[in-house]
C-alpha cells in the first residue's frame, strides 16, 4: 500500500492537492516572515484554528448554533492558567485537565440546552457563557477577579520549557495537525453523509435508526474538548489569565472563522483563523473602525457565500472543472435485518385539539402480509403510520411489535427494531447524491468508515428500484417519481421486517406505478411485510391481499380488495366515484 492509499484509507477520503499546497505554503510562511511578531500572530492563528475545528463539530456538522464555544475556550484557559500559577503544574497535567474540565462543563450545559431548537439553543448557550464570565469576574480568590492572574509561566512540558516564538509555534501547529486529522477521521466517510442527513433532514435520519440526540451530545462534547485544548494553549501564549477570554468577542471570532472559512471543512477553519487573526493588521489604516470592517466581512460572507470560502471553492471547482462521475459501484448485499414479526394495534386514539384524527383503531398485521390502507383525506391514515413509526404519540392505546410495546420509543429505536418508513412529503437531501442519500441511512449498520460496503448495498437497492443510473446525481435534480423510489430504497437499506409507505405512488406516471407495484410485490414475496397508505386502489390491488378502509379515525372495512371495493359503507364514505381515480394529495 502506498502512503497515499494508507492516508486515504485512514481518513476515509482522498487528499486534496490544493489543500496540500496550501498547507506547505502556510508552513513556509513563518520562515519567510520570521520576526517575533509574525510568529506570535501565527501561533494565535493556530490556537483559534484548533478551537474553530472543535466548534465545527457542533455548529457545522451537527448544525446547532452554539454560542458556548468561547466559554469552553475561556474555561480551558482559566483551568490551565490557575493550575500552572497556583500549583506549578506542567502542561502535561494542565492540558488534559483543561480539556476534561471543558467537557464536563459541556455535559452539564447539554442537559437543559441540547434539546432546544435553533435560536433557543443559541441563546441558552449564550446565557451559559455569560454565567461563566460572571463567575470568573466575581470569584476573586480563585480567578483573580476582573484583573485576572498575571505572570502565567512559560509553557513547561515534562520539566522542559517550550519557549515563545518557534517552539510554541511548532507545538501549537502540531496539535492543530493532530486535531485536524482526528476531526477529519471522525467526520469523514459514511459518517459525513450521515451527518448531512441528520442536519438537513432530521426526521428522515431518525427514521433511519440514527440517534440524533446522541450525535449532538457527542458533537457538543468534542467541541468543548477542542475549545478547552485551545484555551490551555492560549493562556501560555498571552501569559495572563483574564476575563477577556470569556467575553463575547472571542465567541464572535470563532463563529466568524467557521462562517468565513467554511462550516464543515477543517481546512476552512485553518484558513478562516489565519485570515481573521491577520485581519486587524490589514485593516490597520481603518484605525478604530477596523472592527466595523470585520463585522462587514462577516455579514457579506453570510449573505453572499453562506458555505464559506472552502464551500465556495468547492462549488467553483464543481462548476468550472467538473470531474467525470466515477464508475457506478458494484452492487452488494444489504445486512440482514430483524426477523419478521407481528404488528398489533389496540385501541389507538389521537386527538388534535377537538379533532379525533384517530378514534379507536384495532389492527393486526401478520408477518409477511401486504396491507393497503385507504380512506378520505383526514381519515387518520398518516397519523396511524406516524404513531407506528414513533414520530407521533398516541393519546391512548397500544402498539405491539414482536410482542413488545413500542409506544413511547423514539423513532430510531423503532427503526432498529425492524420498522422502516417513507414520508408523504419527501425528505431527501437535495444536494447529496442519490447513492449517498441511501447509503447514509445505513450508517448504523455499516459503521463509521465502511462507506464502500454501504454504497454497494445502496447500489443493490437502487438497481432493484430501477434508479441505479442516477446514482451519482444530486437528489434535487431528479423528477419526483424517481425521488419517491430513492426514498423507498433508503427505507429498505436496514433490511426492515416491516415497511411502511406513505403514498408512494403519488406523482408517479402509469408506467412508474406499474414498476413500483412489481417491486413491492417482489419485496413482499421475499418476506418483507408491507403496509401502504394510498389513494389509488388499482395500484394497491396489484400487490396487496388485504385492504383496510379508514373513515374519520375508525376502520370501516377490512378484507380482500374486491370485498372492500364492494362495501356500501366504503362507497358512501370514500369511493363515491369510479375506483382508481383517487386524487394524489393527502
Amino acid at each position: 500500500m502506498t502512503v497515499r492509499n494508507r492516508v486515504r484509507a485512514w481518513l476515509g477520503r482522498d487528499i486534496n492537492p490544493l489543500l496540500l499546497a496550501g498547507a506547505i505554503g502556510l508552513a513556509a510562511w513563518p520562515f519567510l516572515a520570521g520576526d517575533a511578531y509574525s510568529l506570535r500572530l501565527l501561533t494565535m492563528a493556530g490556537i483559534y484554528a484548533l478551537a474553530a475545528i472543535g466548534y465545527q463539530f457542533i455548529f457545522g456538522h451537527a448544525g446547532a448554533l452554539s454560542l458556548a464555544q468561547g466559554a469552553f475556550f475561556g474555561f480551558g484557559a482559566y483551568v490551565a492558567g490557575i493550575m500552572s500559577v497556583r500549583m506549578g503544574a506542567g502542561f502535561e497535567v494542565t492540558f488534559p485537565a483543561a480539556m476534561a474540565g471543558s467537557a464536563v462543563l459541556a455535559a452539564l450545559v447539554a442537559l437543559p440546552a441540547l434539546r432546544l431548537r435553533s435560536h433557543y439553543f443559541a441563546l441558552a448557550t449564550l446565557g451559559f457563557g455569560q454565567v461563566v464570565l460572571l463567575i470568573a469576574v466575581n470569584w476573586e480568590n480563585v480567578t483573580g477577579g476582573a484583573n485576572g492572574i498575571p505572570n502565567v509561566p512559560v509553557l513547561s512540558l515534562f520539566g522542559g520549557t517550550v519557549g515563545r516564538g518557534w517552539p510554541m509555534l511548532m507545538l501549537v501547529w502540531s496539535l492543530v495537525a493532530i486535531g485536524a486529522l482526528v476531526a477529519r477521521r471522525l467526520t469523514g466517510g459514511l459518517t459525513g453523509a450521515a451527518l448531512i442527513l441528520m442536519r438537513e433532514q432530521p426526521m428522515a435520519a431518525e427514521a433511519a435508526g440514527i440517534d440524533i440526540r446522541r450525535i449532538r451530545f457527542a458533537a457538543f462534547l468534542l467541541s468543548a474538548l477542542y475549545g478547552g485544548a485551545a484555551g490551555a494553549l492560549h493562556v501560555h501564549t498571552v501569559r495572563v489569565v483574564s476575563p477577556e477570554v470569556l467575553e463575547f468577542p472571542v465567541m464572535v471570532m470563532l463563529l466568524a472563522i467557521a462562517v468565513i472559512g467554511g462550516r464543515t471543512s477543517v481546512a476552512g477553519a485553518v484558513v478562516g483563523a489565519v485570515l481573521l487573526i491577520h485581519l486587524p493588521e490589514w485593516f490597520r489604516p481603518l484605525e478604530r473602525y477596523y472592527l466595523m470592517a470585520y463585522g462587514a466581512v462577516l455579514l457579506a460572507m453570510i449573505v453572499a457565500a453562506p458555505w464559506g470560502l472552502m464551500g465556495s471553492l468547492r462549488h467553483a471547482r464543481r462548476r468550472w472543472l467538473p470531474e467525470p462521475d466515477p464508475p457506478l459501484p458494484a452492487a452488494g448485499p444489504t445486512q440482514a435485518g430483524p426477523s419478521p414479526a407481528r404488528l398489533e394495534i389496540m385501541g389507538l386514539t389521537r386527538h388534535f385539539g377537538g379533532v379525533r384524527a384517530v378514534d379507536g383503531i384495532d389492527l393486526v398485521v401478520e408477518p409477511g402480509e401486504s396491507v393497503g390502507i385507504v380512506g378520505a383525506n383526514g381519515s387518520g391514515k398518516t397519523t396511524v403510520l406516524n404513531m407506528i413509526a414513533g414520530t407521533d404519540r398516541p393519546d391512548s392505546g397500544h402498539i405491539g411489535w414482536a410482542g413488545t410495546e413500542i409506544v413511547g420509543l423514539p423513532p430510531y429505536r423503532i427503526n432498529r427494531a425492524g420498522i422502516a418508513r417513507s414520508f408523504q412529503t419527501l425528505k431527501l437531501v437535495d444536494e447529496m447524491t442519490v447513492l449517498d442519500n441511501v447509503a447514509a441511512a445505513a450508517w448504523r449498520e455499516f459503521g463509521r468508515t465502511d462507506r464502500d460496503s454501504a454504497r454497494a448495498a445502496a447500489m443493490g437497492l437502487l438497481q432493484q428500484l430501477d434508479v441505479a443510473q442516477t446514482a451519482w446525481r444530486p437528489c434535487g435534480a431528479l423528477p419526483p417519481g424517481l425521488r419517491r423510489r430513492v426514498e423507498i430504497a433508503r427505507a429498505l437499506i436496514g433490511g426492515p421486517a416491516l415497511l411502511l409507505l406513505d403514498e408512494p405512488a403519488a406523482g408517479l406516471t402509469a408506467a412508474e406505478r406499474d414498476s413500483l407495484a412489481r417491486t413491492l410485490a417482489a419485496l413482499n414475496a421475499d418476506g418483507t411485510t408491507v403496509v401502504v397508505v394510498e389513494h389509488d386502489l388499482a395500484f394497491l390491488e396489484r400487490f396487496v391481499a388485504r385492504i383496510v378502509c379508514f373513515d374519520q379515525g375508525r376502520i370501516i372495512a377490512d378484507g380482500a380488495p374486491a370485498a372492500v371495493r364492494a362495501d356500501p359503507g366504503v362507497i358512501a364514505a370514500w369511493l363515491g366515484q369510479p375506483p382508481g381515480e383517487g386524487d394524489d394529495h393527502g
Binding site: 448554533l65 435560536h119 433557543y120 441558552a124 449564550l126 446565557g127 463563529l255 473602525y289 472592527l291 466595523m292
Partner: protein
C-alpha cells in the same frame, strides 16, 4: 419601605426593558428569526439621543419622536441588509447576520462616541417627587408612562387595526398571508422598523438614568431574551411580565444579595424554566422550541 422603593426603581427599569423585549418578540414572530442586533439598536438609540441633545439642548421628550422616527429608518435598513437577502435560508442565518450587524453598530458607535459612558437628557427634568417617604424621580415616572403608552399603542395596533391584522397574519403563516394578498415583505420591514423604534426609545429612556456605552448592546439582548424565555414567546403580555421580572432581579434581588448573585440566580431561573416549562410561564402562542 426600602423594598417598595426598590420595586419602584425596578418597575421603571422593567418598563424600558419591556420595550426592548417587545421589539424582539415582534420580529421573532414575524420572521421566525432572532434579531441579535436588537440590543445594539438600544445603544444606537441612546447615542442618537446623546448626539441630538448635543446639537440642541432640549428636554428628552422633544427628542423622543425624532429618535423613534430615525430609528424606524434604521430598522428598515436592518431588515433590508440582514434579513431580506436571507429570508429563504434557515433562521440561524439571520441570527448570524444580525450578530455581524451588531458588531458593525457597536464598533461604529465606539468610533464615533468613544467607549466612555454617556448620558442623555432627562425627558422632562431631573427632579423627583416625594410621597410617604418614597423618592420617585420624574424620569422614572416618565419612563413608566411612555412605556405604558407605547406598549398599549402596539397592542391596539396589533389587535384593533387592519394593519395589525396583516402584521399578525404575517407572523402566523407567511405563505398563507402572502397567498391572501398581504404584502408580506412590507409587513416584515414594518415589523423591523417598529422594533427598532421601540429599541431606540428604550435607549433614550435608559441613557439618562443608567448611562450608556457602545458595548451595552450584548447586555440588552441577553436581558430581552431572558425576559422572553420567562414570559413565553409570542405573547406581548409575557414579554412584558418577563421584562419586569428581569428588572426586579436586578434591583430588588441585587440589593438583597449582590449584583453577581442576582444575575446568577436570574440565569438559573431561566435555565430552570427552559427545562421545566419550555413554553414560558405564560404559555406560547405557537411553535415548538424543544
Amino acid at each position: 419601605m426600602e423594598l417598595l422603593q426598590l420595586t419602584i426603581n425596578g418597575v421603571a427599569l422593567g418598563a424600558a426593558y419591556a420595550l426592548v423585549a417587545l421589539g424582539f418578540v415582534l420580529i421573532l414572530n414575524a420572521t421566525g428569526a432572532v434579531n441579535f442586533a436588537q440590543g445594539d439598536l438600544v445603544a444606537a438609540g441612546g447615542f442618537l439621543a446623546v448626539a441630538l441633545a448635543g446639537l440642541a439642548p432640549v428636554p428628552g421628550i422633544l427628542l423622543l419622536p425624532l429618535v423613534a422616527v430615525l430609528m424606524a429608518g434604521v430598522g428598515l435598513a436592518v431588515s433590508a441588509i440582514a434579513y431580506w437577502p436571507l429570508r429563504d435560508r434557515p433562521p440561524v442565518s439571520v441570527f448570524i447576520s444580525t450578530i455581524a450587524l451588531g458588531i458593525i453598530i457597536q464598533n461604529g458607535l465606539n468610533g464615533l462616541f468613544g467607549a466612555e459612558p454617556r448620558s442623555a437628557p432627562p425627558l422632562f427634568s431631573g427632579g423627583y417627587v416625594e410621597f410617604f417617604g418614597l423618592v420617585v424621580p420624574h424620569q422614572s415616572l416618565a419612563i413608566m408612562s411612555i412605556a405604558a403608552l407605547l406598549v398599549g399603542g402596539v397592542h391596539v395596533l396589533l389587535t384593533r387595526t387592519q394593519l395589525g391584522r396583516m402584521l399578525r397574519a404575517t407572523a402566523q403563516d407567511r405563505e398563507i398571508a402572502a397567498a391572501l394578498g398581504v404584502p408580506v415583505g412590507a409587513m416584515v420591514a414594518l415589523t423591523f422598523s417598529l422594533a427598532a423604534a421601540l429599541a431606540g426609545v428604550a435607549g433614550l429612556l435608559l441613557a439618562n438614568q443608567f448611562f450608556i456605552t457602545p458595548t451595552h448592546g450584548t447586555d440588552f439582548i441577553v436581558k430581552a431574551y431572558i425576559a422572553v424565555v420567562i414570559g413565553g414567546w409570542g405573547r406581548v403580555g409575557g414579554a412584558l411580565a418577563g421584562a419586569m421580572l428581569v428588572a426586579l432581579f436586578e434591583t430588588v434581588v441585587a440589593a438583597w444579595a449582590d449584583y453577581a448573585v442576582a444575575t446568577g440566580l436570574l440565569y438559573a431561573t431561566m435555565l430552570a424554566i427552559l427545562v421545566l416549562r419550555p413554553q414560558g410561564l405564560f404559555g406560547e402562542a405557537g411553535g415548538r422550541r424543544a
